[in-house]
Homo-oligomer: 203 residues x 2
């Protein structure tokens, strides 16, 4: 594969990423992707054969990118409170830079759950909760939080961070009518969400 090939394939992949995230699998047009990449339709098929294969490549890249953002929660050596603050600060910042990714991922997974299955198979979730519980055993026992509750807490944290972006179309409309700006709102949310969760755990 020459240096030039690499460039063309990348151009196509980047253009496809833009168009698929913007329009979804069903709404995206191969012609539109070709135009964005500055090449012709036939080349798309030369490099990726079918629309579905091109989409799968894009989808997998995005899914990995998003999951990777959750990783620091499991291996950092911060205490529980610092870790919660770290998570909301970093995660919301990432989504501010990529506001359309949550909606894209959630929608495409619901349309075709099989796509995410093989990615999840590489992960041992039982072990993740165990590891997390051991890391913060002292604090969690002090607050009377069992290991079984961790999934509920984690989903709640993901929800508080991701949902405003997934619901952006509605939330922006609501904030607009109150004279508030979405990005300022999300800036505030970094600390609000952290305080909220920490208070909830402390009781």
């Amino acid at each position: 594969m020459s240096e030039n090939d690499k460039l063309t394939e990348e151009k196509i992949f980047d253009a496809a990423t833009d168009v698929f995230v913007e329009k979804g699998l069903d709404g995206a047009r191969m012609q539109d992707i070709a135009d964005h990449a500055g090449i012709n339709k036939a080349l798309l098929h030369y490099y990726f054969r079918t629309k579905d294969k091109l989409f799968s490549a894009v989808f997998e890249m995005i899914a990995k990118k998003i999951f990777k953002k959750f990783a620091p929660v499991f291996d950092d050596d911060l205490n529980l409170e610092a870790k919660i603050r770290f998570f909301f600060r970093e995660h919301i910042s990432f989504l501010q830079a990529n506001p359309r990714l949550p909606g894209f991922l959630l929608n495409e997974v619901n349309r075709n759950p099989a796509r995410i299955k093989k990615l999840l198979n590489n992960i041992d979730f039982n072990n993740i909760w165990l590891q997390l519980y051991e890391q913060h055993k002292n604090e969690l026992q002090k607050y009377n939080i069992s290991q079984e509750t961790l999934p509920q807490i984690m989903i709640s944290m993901a929800a508080m961070s991701v949902f405003p972006f997934a619901a952006r179309g509605i939330l922006e409309g609501v904030l607009d009518k109150m004279g508030l700006d979405f990005n300022e709102y999300m800036e505030e949310r970094k600390t609000f969400a952290a305080d909220f969760v920490i208070n909830a755990l402390k009781k």
Copy 2:
């Protein structure tokens, strides 16, 4: 409009609701809707003229249905804690019966935010926060919660209820690998979420 007309139009509308929620606007096919309704394609156009008009009718119905479910939060005469418990119990129960609605609504709004704009225009949000704040002034002041914080709290509650359904494709995969069932998880969540929010507010 005869009694028979009403029936056909309703059959079409119901079939369209099923197919649009399942496949989305771009993925849905008029032929598929006709098959579900047990009539032929031409009749769809006779009653609704275009695919887009048919979709708009379905979308508007669903959006109203969902927003209506939030209404009791604003006019019930329960105290704050009881209202929070009421909300999660009722709202999650509604979504358990309609698990695909959140993903559908969020996705279609993000694809075309204009669709929701006119529905939001009928609502005076500033007044809603004011009303809510007055209703629970005593409790909110005791917990040192300002009126400006209400939108963050409300979005957090919506997130905790809605997000697991919007992310169902992923969450179900995760729970599966842990030997847990989605519906049992959501049953637990009705009380977990209420406790979580109440604790967070009380500090």
